[in-house]
Subunit: 156 residues, 12 copies
């Protein structure tokens, strides 16, 4: 069913659609991972990290909405269901139970690292077929890389 007419030609639409779907899943998982450790972090840095993680959650949720609505705007139906996230996310599963603050920082550096690597591939992939989508991905990546630096700076 061709509901939404895409402003992109067919091939571009497919490439860009894949980039957006991948970003959606990674960002939703990032928000779930950050919440998970937000609730389970323990240690002297509890409060500082607990608050910092909610900034990641806010950014990831907003970004996931942006990419999903961009997918719809180019005529691709986004899929952000729990099962899809669990199966196709590029992030590692985090441990359950209490997690020490230093470990939480390591988990976040690794999760952001995985996201960023894949986001940079998507930036390259969308450059030619759709500069509008690329621009959204660039903005999101800038935010992720800022968090990436901050968590690294904390674990020296």
């Amino acid at each position: 069913m061709s509901v939404v007419k895409s402003p992109l030609p067919e091939q571009a639409r497919t490439i860009v659609g894949e980039a957006l779907q991948g970003a959606l899943v990674d960002l939703l998982d990032l928000s779930l991972v950050a919440k998970q450790v937000h609730w389970n972090v323990i240690g002297p840095r509890f409060r500082s990290i607990h608050l910092q993680l909610d900034e990641v959650v806010d950014t990831a949720r907003l970004a996931s909405d942006t990419v999903a609505e961009r997918a719809s705007a180019i005529g691709i139906t986004p899929d952000g269901r729990a099962g899809t996230v669990a199966k196709t996310s590029g992030l590692d599963t985090v441990t359950d139970g209490w997690v020490k603050d230093g470990e939480v920082v390591d988990i976040m550096v690794a999760a952001l690292d995985a996201c960023i690597t894949r986001m940079r591939e998507r930036i390259s992939a969308t450059d030619e077929p759709d500069p509008v989508t690329q621009d959204l991905l660039i903005g999101i990546t800038a935010d992720l890389e800022k968090f990436h630096w901050m968590f690294q700076a904390e674990n020296v």
Copy 2:
């Protein structure tokens, strides 16, 4: 590892912990389901439902945070990871792709119905062991039942 000393005796803690973990998973899934149809809804009522779904998302996210932090407060580690949500949610998986507005409303009535039934069981279960947790669950259920009415009123 006994990190957080519970204000509840052991048996009460176990019952209340189960209620909270169940509520956490249902509420996280509710937020994912509502976002999924928020992005994929089509039909004349698109805008009205698109906006209404974000109110469900906001409520479900806030409520999931409340129950997860309550779990931590009684010494239970909450588990809100994507895999856990996908495996243990009490909600049915929704269809992917575009969904007509009337179907979206049916999906939401069913999802809320499933949540509410289980929340009411948790309200009963926590009455005796922990009135503090019960009070939080009651407040969340009132919100869910209000949405439940509104979506039903729309599909007459």
Copy 3:
């Protein structure tokens, strides 16, 4: 016509529905009574009481909306029409024309007294059939009893 499926079994629904309908009428009448004396109060305490009455009005209007929407949520249609309020309110009719400030306070103590007595009966009646409704009625009663104290404290 069974429009909204109740989360409550039939008997509970009837008891709770009556409590909510009674509360709705009393709260709407309370808002009308408070406005009536807000406009007609005279005496040295005019300004203080004029302002205080609008806080009662705001509380009563918000509470009436809460109970009416709760009724809808459990599948009961609320009735807040002028005729129904005039006929079934538990509050006495107030005098028309200018009213001295001291009398206004007496009128409000009596009106709140009538509301509170009936609200406490509704709290008892809904305890078993629906703790969600009971919780809303408890919150509203706390507000009414606070106003009740304040008006009494003023007429010593």
Copy 4:
């Protein structure tokens, strides 16, 4: 008891007082009618109309306060008690129970129609005796006629 000295001569005061008392009752009833269907509306347009009705309620409540305080300002005691509203309102009694969205719109067009006709008569009646009151009634009528258009535009 001559409590408030009127800025108007006796005859003008009587004419203007009647206009304001009539407007007060109609506007209070309009707020009750709009709330009644706000709670009981059903059908696909539920949410849109549910929200729109609260704008009518806010306008009607504010306007009723304006006309009642204007009555006091010219030395006339306003009467906005439930019984007075039930007996002297110019609006038809609405049906109870669930109401389909299209019917709700018809009810609101009729209620606003009744209000507007009477408000325009009051604008004429107060022109000579009190331009200050007339100006308030003109402002309120502009708002009512805007709602009147919008509800009509919806039921084409």
Copy 5:
């Protein structure tokens, strides 16, 4: 020097200019009188009247700005200098030193009475030559008459 071209013919401009200059002086004096008793009021109703007087001050200041700028807009230079206010105000001079709360209310009723009588004459005078100015004067008079009622209601 003809700096600002008036939208009014010469004769209308003169009539309207006088009405505005008179209103300007009365309103500036009203703001000074209200501040004077705001600072010097004593008695059990001190706080209530102290606050209420600042509402009069705010209204009078805003209104004086409105009429002065309206004068400029029709090509008349407004004169709001201290000497002009002292010499041409329509309000009585108030007593200096502490003033008992009941007396303050009497002073305000008298001051508002003087303002209102003259404002109503200005409303009549401007009706034909400039409905735009008349509309501003009507709005200001409505506010003054509301304060007039409230202060009267307090001294019963």
Copy 6:
């Protein structure tokens, strides 16, 4: 097609409809003219005038919305399309390219002058058939005349 039932009799509706359509076109053109010189103004007073023009734009846009919706409310369909504005506006076409600040002020005085003259005619025309519309036009004219004074005061 008689979509919206007018609160006015036929003849009044025609007169008032013409006044509103004329006002709509003038106000839309005023907003376009003010924006045009907002972008193209040069000279030492650049910043001051650049900011001042946006206040005219905001006022004109808001006023155009008010008159258009008033037209709809009395059952007249407003026409604010680019072609209609270009053909029927009462304002002169402004020059393109950079414009010196003094000239910008002259342009705005002339544009406002043209608007005001026509608005005052519409105030007269609507006095008898519809005081509600007249009141809206009076309020808009007061704003335009204030800008008219300010721009004149700047070019002395």
Copy 7:
């Protein structure tokens, strides 16, 4: 007259200037078209579409200001006069009179379609001569394509 020194070489300035002038006219017309149907829409979806159109208006107005000021910043005088918009806009003229809600949506899909096609050409054209302008056009296009999707999703 060389008033503003361009940061771009001559040829780049010409290409970019044309892109910006074209975008300005299309966006101004889009705001006028959206307002036109905002006022004239009828049908059951009146309120939803009426509100949605104002979001398009806000976006188009802001975007038109952005591109016009960008033109000035590179030393090109923007032309947003009514006559220029009427003559050079890339959008079709819309019908006057009442318009059914479904038709309104079709009109908006077509108008946005025309805008987007031309905006994408401008994005290509400005890529090499001025990435700063291109970035602004990309941001605006993202917003237009989001509205484009939403209106399409509504007319299924």
Copy 8:
């Protein structure tokens, strides 16, 4: 002197009054203890804990006001004087002088522990005589237990 008529029978009033007076003293002391260590904390976690303690202070102050006003509302005069707090508080006296950050956390865990244990007893005690008071105590306890978890999570 029987100033405020209680909505509770005599025996219930006595039980509930004791619970509220006890809660008042504990909460006032909690606010003083938290401020004391807010000012005297030292160590690497200074800033994080300094800020966190003010959240406890805000919560404790608000809660003390809630319970004191509830006492008044049921006709019991609350006693929150310094001497009463010093003599009857359930919290241990804290050490004076600088306190290391880790010790501060221990102090707060102990202080909250003492408060919570007694609050839970008061929740049980008020269940039957006054569900309105119980509901307020439950809400306060939920907040205290959240802080209790957070301080524990910090000292692992």
Copy 9:
């Protein structure tokens, strides 16, 4: 009548009372002078100066309230009546009618100059008898001297 017991001994009270009364009159007159030229300024700098003058008005009004309430606080009744201001102000009377922008700046420099010279004498006079009053006068003088610089900087 000894209404308010002064925290100052008799002699100090007299000196400080004179300083405050003098400051009150100067500041009230400054606010009237600034408004007078705010309304009557003409010339190319109209808008900039028109806005700047309202900042002086706001500062002068706030400062006059501060010094008047300080007088009351030390048991001195402040006198801010129009006649008192006209007779005892330390500022020169300004000319009426339109005033060119450059002259307005000169008027303001002179008015501020007069205020500042007298405020500095009051700062010296109150140093020993009342550092609390002195501190208020210092703060006000800092603001006046800032405006003094700005107006001077404008007329170079």
Copy 10:
């Protein structure tokens, strides 16, 4: 333990430290006294005084924080524990139970009187050793003396 290096020499530090510790205790007690009568006031002026007392509480709490943090800043550990306040406050213990409004005002005048006398001694004592601390105490005293006037003005 010499944790914080003082910007003051030893002797100055001791004098200033005593002044700050004394101020801290008085201000904390003032906040407790004001709350005590805020809850227990009765009589016709209940509402006005109830609200006014919360302004004293806010001021006293903010001021106590300011002086305590100032003590820390000069290397003195502040002591604001309940026992210290109860033992060393300069304020009289207030009566418990309901208090008539007139008595409440007397209590507040006496409490502020005691505070002010001691604050003025501290202003003198800190003048030479630390003008920074003196400036904070002057600002706080100005606020206390304003409340002192207002309560006196109320009981005439």
Copy 11:
């Protein structure tokens, strides 16, 4: 010391790092230059330019923070010390002492010109190695070019 792992390969990191360090120094100097003339500007346009310069300061400070944090995010330590700014800024040193308004505008045009030229080189240099950094630089340059136009438009 390799503290922060860069998302860029080594060579890209060096190029991008140089671009960011250069931008940081220029933007910090721009903020200092704009403040310097903000304080020292004199002449009839004083107020207008004084305010306008603070907008440049706000933009430059925000931009300097953005580029410095971007440098950290790619593993480069930014250097914004006074000495580094003084030695390596691309802006000319401005004169000290009072500066006439026209000269201030010339100074700002020149300073922005220098910044823009270098920013455009950095946009080119970062295009290939890091589109994320390039996007930030493009956004900053758009703002600088807008100010550049505005200052030029003022000095015609």
Copy 12:
């Protein structure tokens, strides 16, 4: 060139001018130093210190503006250029590159220490010649000493 007439005699002006110029340079450098370590801090306390440093930056920037404008107000031209700051600041140059969190705290204690010592000398120097300037410097010093305590309290 004598542009701004000083409210101070010549000698006082020179002394106060030097104090203000010295304060300006120190405060500007403090803001640059705090930003430098804000960007380069690493270690477990990264986030807490990163945020705290921005509070220092905000305070220092606001204070530098206050002292610079005070200089202008007394007829002294402030000099806040990069070269002047680099050459005449009283603060030590900080190291470049990443800095461990503990070292950052040491750097800030030393920087604040240097500022405070010099500010206290300026407070003494300005006491006699200009109490207005002295009051501003006292307020700024209070803020600096508060930060001084906090950073010391962190490194115990």
